[in-house]
């Protein structure tokens, strides 16, 4: 029964992975990648690690890939045309890396088959929620904290990048000519402020609002 399920889900994972690489349409690739993640989650369940499986689906399939699909849809990337390979120097490197990968796989299979340790046959509780929690907060506390700080840095970095160049986004512009707005239209931080603001250009609007961080204007905007 387990072997059958393994063949089913492993086959699905490999099939989806191949399709991910082979597809020309980036959206189809993304969907194939979701398929890979979900098949892997099913494999985790058969390996008695339901927590990892659930987290795999929630984090990878449910959160990260949604953002990827979102970006693909927003950019409306068209089907890639068949182009000649540009960086020919990369081909031998790819072949070498593939060879290393196959050697590693063969080594692992050989090592597992010849290792004296035999599986005990009992169901372990390593994959259960409480043992994972205990492990994270005792033995692996330092790596866990470092990872948290890394993620926090990523959040702060994303905010810094998004805020660069004042509060008016680079894509938002005031139509040239005299016009007046409620302040809340221009400034996302003042949601209920209906004070009238008059401006002729985007720059002028930013200066009036006091959100322009560079008085010499933005070259990138």
């Amino acid at each position: 029964m387990l072997a059958l399920l393994f063949i089913l889900f492993a086959g699905m994972a490999v099939g989806c992975a191949l399709s991910m690489v082979a597809q020309r349409n980036p959206l189809y690739s993304a969907i194939s990648l979701i398929g890979v993640f979900i098949s892997l989650a099913c494999l985790y369940v058969t390996l008695a690690a339901p927590f990892i499986a659930a987290v795999q689906v929630i984090v990878y399939a449910g959160a990260i890939m949604v953002l990827v699909v979102f970006v693909i849809m927003l950019l409306n990337v068209e089907e890639e045309e068949r182009q000649p390979v540009r960086l020919r120097t990369l081909v031998p490197i790819a072949v070498a890396l593939a060879a290393v990968f196959f050697a590693e796989t063969a080594f692992i299979i050989f090592f597992v088959q010849t290792s004296p340790a035999t599986p005990t046959g009992s169901v372990s509780d390593v994959g259960l929620t409480s043992s994972i929690g205990t492990g994270l907060f005792t033995t692996y506390l330092l790596p866990f904290e470092i990872t948290s700080i890394l993620l926090l840095m990523a959040v702060v970095g994303a905010m810094t990048l998004a805020r660069r160049g004042g509060l008016i986004g680079a894509n938002v512009g005031v139509v040239p000519g005299y016009q007046s707005f409620a302040r809340e239209v221009l400034d996302p931080m003042a949601t209920t402020d209906l004070t009238q603001v008059e401006a002729r250009t985007s720059r002028e609007a930013e200066e009036l609002l006091g959100v322009s961080d560079s008085p010499h204007g933005h070259d990138e905007g």
Partner: protein, 363 residues
């Protein structure tokens, strides 16, 4: 042989739960139309069968026999895939909810080798995470439906929906963490059993410990199911019908079905986590009562949804986003901090013990 027997039992369980949920979903649609009619001072459908009782069947027949129109420039494969994803993701979470305690049949079933049957299909150690994971996949269906229809209104609806669901999923998950901290398990059955209390009422998480978590969960859940007042993905006055503008016949019916099944599962989760699941008066003496208590609480939530739809106007998109990120998420985080502190300091245990000794109440 043992495996096969297990498989057959699972299949039977899934079939029964599926039938019950589908029937209730069909009649939720009817109830919604009748209740909305009442709220808006009109009658609603009352012609098919006594009091409109056969209306869901008539609707279904209509959906089946309508012409299936596929837009010319649509991305065919994804256009067909999207409704399937939505419906599958909505239906998959049914299997982990405990509909009731173990019940006893008056006769012995040969397949089980006894007369005790559990009213839950899969006893899953991480049932709560399973529900969150499965529902988080549903967003693809909506986003892909919007994209593949090749229609700007659909695309806008799909994008709005993705943004909204990602934002509110966070608040939803954070709102549930309080309950998890409280009960120390992700197993839905254990969470229900912990809420038994006096007469099956006083142990509910809602009353004792998680009112804030409950409110955060309820609001986020309404947003997750794209219902009024958070129905921006299909806002008909702005986007025709949003992500399912280009869908017709049975494919539209699948989206329609998924929306109501999602309402149903969200209500089941709220019942399980906050309203004590199948707990209620005398449920330990008469276990069959459990299923009625459970479904009764679910029906209350469904009514609440319909009530909201008849009462509230729609949010604006920026209001929706700032409400989710600047109010619900911080509120949920405060709730987690407070719950963790209380749990760690043991104040709650002390309080519960005091109440129990002085009044005989509490879990």
């Amino acid at each position: 042989m043992e495996d096969l027997k297990h498989l057959v039992l699972l299949m039977v369980g899934i079939l029964v739960a599926f039938t019950v949920v589908m029937t209730m979903v069909a009649y939720t649609v009817l109830a919604e139309r009748r209740i909305l009619g009442f709220i808006q001072g009109r009658l609603g459908p009352n012609r098919v069968g006594p009091g409109g009782f056969l209306q869901p069947i008539a609707d279904l027949l209509k959906f089946i026999f309508k012409e299936d129109i596929v837009p010319d420039k649509s991305t065919r494969f994804i256009y067909f895939l999207a409704p399937t994803i939505v419906t599958t993701a909505a239906l998959m979470s049914i299997i982990v909810y405990p509909f009731g305690p173990d019940v006893h049949l008056p006769f012995t079933l040969p397949l089980i080798g006894g007369n005790t049957i559990p009213l839950v299909i899969a006893k899953f150690d991480v049932g709560l995470l399973y529900v969150l994971g499965v529902t988080s996949v549903g967003v693809y269906g909506i986003a892909l439906a919007g994209w593949s229809s090749n229609n700007k209104y659909s695309l806008m609806g799909g994008l709005r929906s993705s943004a909204q669901m990602i934002s509110y999923e966070l608040a939803l998950g954070l709102g549930l963490i309080g309950v998890i901290l409280q009960s120390g398990t992700l197993n839905l059955q254990s969470i229900v059993e912990q809420q038994s209390g006096h007469l099956g009422i006083t142990g509910w998480n809602l009353i004792w410990v998680q009112p804030v978590g409950f409110i955060v969960y309820l609001i986020a859940a309404i947003a997750e199911t794209n219902r009024v007042p958070f129905d921006l993905p299909e806002a008909e006055t702005e986007l025709v019908a949003g992500f399912h503008t280009e869908y017709s016949a049975m494919k539209f019916a699948l989206f329609f079905l998924a929306e109501y099944v999602n309402m149903f599962t969200v209500s089941m989760l709220a019942t399980t986590l906050f309203l004590g699941g199948w707990n209620g008066p005398f449920v330990h003496q008469v276990p069959w009562l459990g299923i009625f208590y459970f479904l009764g609480k679910v029906v209350f939530f469904l009514f609440f949804y319909i009530w909201l739809r008849g009462t509230l106007p729609r949010f604006r998109f920026d209001q929706l986003m700032s409400f989710g990120w600047k109010f619900l998420v911080p509120l949920a985080i405060i709730n987690i901090v407070v719950t963790a502190t209380v749990q760690w300091s043991g104040v709650f245990d002390w309080g519960a013990k005091f109440l129990k000794t002085s009044t005989g109440w509490g879990g």
